[in-house]
C-alpha cells in the first residue's frame, strides 16, 4: 500500500460504506460518472465462475455440438481437434499420470490434460470463439460445443447433454494440480 494515500486504504480495508466520511479536500465520493443501470451491466456481464455463477439457462448436447464443431471450428482446430498451426489443439488426455508438464517442454497442454475448470471452456467459447465471429453462437450452441469438446477429451460420456448444473459439477482431471504463486522476492529462486 506504499503509494496509496491512507484515506483510500482505510476506506477499502475498513469498509467504505461505514468508515469513509471523506474530508473537505477529498470527499467521500467525487460524484463523477453516473450510476450504472442494470441494463448497462447486463449487456456486458458475460462471465462465468467455477461455481457456475453466470451460466445461462438452456442446455445443449454433444451430438449437436459435434455437428456445430465440424461446421464452425474444424477448419482451424482440425476435424478431430488436433489443431492446425497456429490454431491450438483442443483435444488430448495424454499423459494421464503424474502431470509432468514441468519436466517435459514437448508436452502439449490441452483442455483434457491441463485445464482446471470446465466452466472456463463455456466462458471462453462464448466470449471468444469462433475467432473471426465471436459472440455469434447462441447459449444452447455454446453448451453443445462445450459438451462435444468434453466428450472428445473423454471427460463426458458419448452423447452427453449439458446445462448449468451439470457443467458446474464437472471435475476436470487437472483440477487439483494448480498451486498459488509462492515466489516472494529475496534470495531464493523459485
Amino acid at each position: 500500500m506504499r503509494r496509496i494515500p491512507a484515506w483510500i486504504a482505510v476506506g477499502l480495508v475498513v469498509g467504505c460504506q461505514a468508515a469513509d466520511e471523506g474530508t473537505a479536500e477529498t470527499p467521500a465520493t467525487w460524484g463523477i460518472g453516473r450510476a450504472a443501470t442494470a441494463a448497462d451491466i447486463a449487456t456486458l456481464d458475460l462471465d462465468v465462475a467455477p461455481s457456475g455463477a453466470g451460466l445461462p439457462p438452456g442446455s445443449g448436447d454433444a451430438v449437436r455440438g459435434a455437428a456445430l464443431y465440424q461446421a464452425q471450428c474444424a477448419t482451424c482446430h482440425g476435424v478431430n481437434g488436433e489443431g492446425i498451426a497456429p490454431n491450438p489443439p483442443l483435444v488430448g488426455r495424454e499423459p494421464r499420470e503424474g502431470f509432468p508438464f514441468g519436466n517435459d517442454p514437448k508436452l502439449v497442454r490441452t483442455i483434457g490434460n491441463y485445464w482446471p475448470e470446465a466452466t472456463t471452456l463455456f466462458d471462453y467459447i462464448r466470449r471468444t470463439m469462433p475467432l473471426t465471429a465471436p459472440g455469434s453462437l447462441s447459449d444452447p450452441d455454446v453448451y453443445s460445443v462445450t459438451a462435444h469438446l468434453l466428450v472428445a477429451n473423454e471427460i463426458l460420456p458419448a452423447g452427453a447433454t449439458l446445462d448449468s448444473a451439470s457443467l458446474a459439477a464437472i471435475r476436470m482431471p487437472a483440477r487439483d494440480r494448480f498451486v498459488r504463486d509462492n515466489r516472494q522476492g529475496g534470495r531464493e529462486v523459485r
Binding site: 486504504a9 477499502l12 456486458l44 482446471p116
Partner: protein, 465 residues
C-alpha cells in the same frame, strides 16, 4: 578489461585489472560514453586517436574550431551527408563548412532519415505479437510506436466518445464512467515497464545464435503512463469489504478477461489513458488500459471496459490454459503475476559486430516487478568474474539503463549481465531456474543471458548455464 563509465579518466589498474576511478579530470563526462571511450583509448591502450573515425573526417575536423576529440568528429562527420539530403539548399551554403540550410518547421516531427529505428516484427495474425527493437533504443523510454504488441484478437479502433468503463459487482454504487469522466479524477503519472510473461520464451525453447535482443526479449517496453489510481475508482464505487478479487475485461473482439487480487488495486494499479505525453496508442489499449506495475503484461487488460468485484478468481482461459507455470513437482503455478528481476545487454549485441578492438560501452536494460533495480553486474568472461555496472535512474518497476566500459582485446569473450532488485533477488542462471521449476516451464523466464563475442568480432546469442 572493464572500466567505469561514471568515473573520470582512469590512471591506475586495480588488482583484477579493472579500472578504478580517479578524480580531477574534466574531460570525461558520465553522460558522454563516446568521449569516455575515446579518452580511454588514447590514454590506456595506445591506439591511435583517429582509429575509429570515418574516412575523410579529418579535413572537416580541421575546419571546426573549438571542437576536439570524438564528439567533434562525430558531429562534423554527419554534416556533409545531411546537406546532400536536404532539398532546396544552395550548393554554396551547403559547401560552407559547418553550415547547413534547414527545412522549415513541421506539424508533426519525423525521425532523422539517417537513423530509422529497427522496426517491430509484426506476425500478421489476429492473435499475434510484435517485438520492441531493444537493440536500437537508448535510455529507458520506449517510443510509443515501438512498444511491443501482444493481442489475442487484433487491435480494435474504439471511439472514445462512446467508450464506457463499468464498475460493478461487490460495490455500493455501480458506476458507468466515460473517458472524460475518468480524466476528472485525481491523476498520477508514473514510469513503468510492461512485460509479456512469455518474454524470453522463444530463446528458452529454441535458442539461435542470430537472435537479437529484440528476438530474445522484445516483449517488454517502458513508458510514462498517466491515469487514475484504481483505488480511487473503487472508493468512488464504494467497494465492499468482502471483495477480494476483481475481473478486468477488455473491449477487443475476444473480450479479454483476467482476475486480479484486490491488494493490487490498493497498492499501485492504475487505469491509464496517457502514454509518453499523448493518448494511449491503439495497440496499447486506446482509450483505456489497466496498468498493474510489475505484473505480467496480459493482466494489464487493454481497451478496458468493465471491472467486476467478487470474492474468488474467475479462472479465465488466459489465467489457466495460458500464463501458468507447470513445475517439476507435478503442479502448476497459477496467478504468478510478478515479473522477477531481469536484465539484458542491448549493446554490443546481435546484429552488431565489433569492428575494432579497444574500449566499448557495454549497455543494456534491467528491471524488476518487485521494485527498484539496485545493482547490475556485467561479466566479460562467461560469469567467472562480475563487475558493477553504472546505473541510470532506477525507478521502481521500470526499465533501468546500465552501462560499463569494456576493453576488448580481440580474444573470444562472453558478455553477461545479472540484475539484483531491492528485495535482494538476484537474476538466476538458466540452470538455477530449471532446477527450481523444471525444463517445461517457459513463461516468466528471467535467466541470465548474453552474447558470445568471437575473435573476428562476430556476436552470437548465448545462455549462461
Amino acid at each position: 578489461m572493464i572500466g567505469s563509465t561514471s568515473s573520470n579518466v582512469v590512471n591506475e589498474l586495480d588488482r583484477d585489472g579493472f579500472r578504478m576511478a580517479c578524480a580531477g579530470c574534466t574531460i570525461c563526462d558520465r553522460t558522454q560514453l563516446s568521449m569516455t571511450a575515446e579518452v580511454h583509448t588514447v590514454a590506456d591502450s595506445g591506439v591511435e586517436p583517429g582509429h575509429a573515425q570515418p574516412a575523410g573526417a579529418i579535413s572537416r575536423r580541421e575546419a571546426i574550431e573549438g571542437m576536439a576529440g570524438t564528439l567533434g568528429v562525430a558531429l562534423v562527420a554527419t554534416i556533409p551527408v545531411a546537406s546532400a539530403a536536404q532539398a532546396g539548399v544552395s550548393p554554396v551554403a551547403a559547401s560552407a563548412p559547418g553550415r547547413l540550410m534547414g527545412a522549415p518547421t513541421s506539424a508533426l516531427g519525423v525521425r532523422s532519415a539517417f537513423a530509422p529505428p529497427a522496426p517491430r516484427t509484426p506476425t500478421g495474425q489476429l492473435v499475434g505479437s510484435s517485438l520492441t527493437p531493444l537493440h536500437s533504443l537508448s535510455g529507458t523510454l520506449t517510443p510509443s510506436d515501438l512498444h511491443f504488441e501482444r493481442h489475442h484478437a487484433g487491435v480494435p479502433a474504439i471511439d472514445p466518445a462512446t467508450h464506457r468503463l463499468v464498475i460493478h459487482g461487490l460495490v455500493d454504487r455501480p458506476l458507468t464512467l466515460s473517458v472524460d469522466d475518468l480524466k476528472r479524477f485525481p491523476q498520477v503519472t508514473r514510469i513503468h515497464f510492461v512485460e509479456c510473461s512469455g518474454n524470453g520464451r522463444a530463446a528458452w525453447v529454441s535458442p539461435a545464435p542470430d537472435m537479437t535482443p529484440q528476438r530474445t526479449d522484445g516483449l517488454t517496453s517502458n513508458s510514462e503512463w498517466t491515469g487514475v489510481p484504481l483505488a480511487t475508482l473503487f472508493r468512488e464505487a464504494g467497494a465492499r469489504r468482502e471483495a477480494t478479487w476483481f475481473l478486468a475485461e477488455g473491449a477487443d473482439a475476444c473480450l479479454m478477461t483476467r482476475s486480479v487480487p484486490m491488494e493490487k488495486a490498493l497498492d499501485d494499479a492504475l487505469v491509464v489513458w496517457g502514454q509518453n505525453g499523448e493518448a494511449l496508442r491503439p495497440e496499447q489499449g486506446f482509450p483505456l488500459r489497466l496498468l498493474l506495475p510489475g505484473w505480467e503484461g496480459n493482466a494489464n487488460v487493454k481497451w478496458l471496459r468493465r471491472l467486476e468485484l467478487g470474492t474468488a478468481p474467475w479462472m479465465t482461459r488466459w489465467e489457466t490454459s495460458k500464463y501458468t507455470d507447470p513445475l517439476r513437482d507435478g503442479t502448476a503455478r497459477i496467478f504468478s503475476f510478478v515479473m522477477d528481476a531481469k536484465s539484458i545487454i542491448t549493446t554490443p549485441a546481435v546484429p552488431a559486430r565489433l569492428a575494432d578492438r579497444g574500449w566499448h560501452a557495454v549497455s543494456g536494460v534491467a528491471w524488476s516487478g518487485r521494485g527498484r533495480i539496485t545493482r547490475v553486474e556485467v561479466s566479460a568472461d562467461s560469469g567467472s568474474t562480475w563487475h558493477d555496472a553504472d546505473l541510470g535512474p532506477a525507478l521502481p518497476k521500470a526499465h533501468t539503463r546500465f552501462s560499463m566500459m569494456w576493453n576488448w582485446t580481440g580474444e573470444p569473450a562472453v558478455l553477461l549481465s545479472r540484475a539484483t532488485d531491492e528485495t535482494g533477488y538476484v537474476q538466476p542462471t538458466r540452470q538455477a531456474l530449471m532446477d527450481a521449476r523444471g525444463a517445461g516451464t517457459d513463461y516468466h523466464n528471467n535467466a541470465i543471458r548474453g552474447w558470445r563475442v568471437d575473435a573476428d568480432g562476430g556476436i552470437a546469442f548465448h545462455w549462461e548455464t
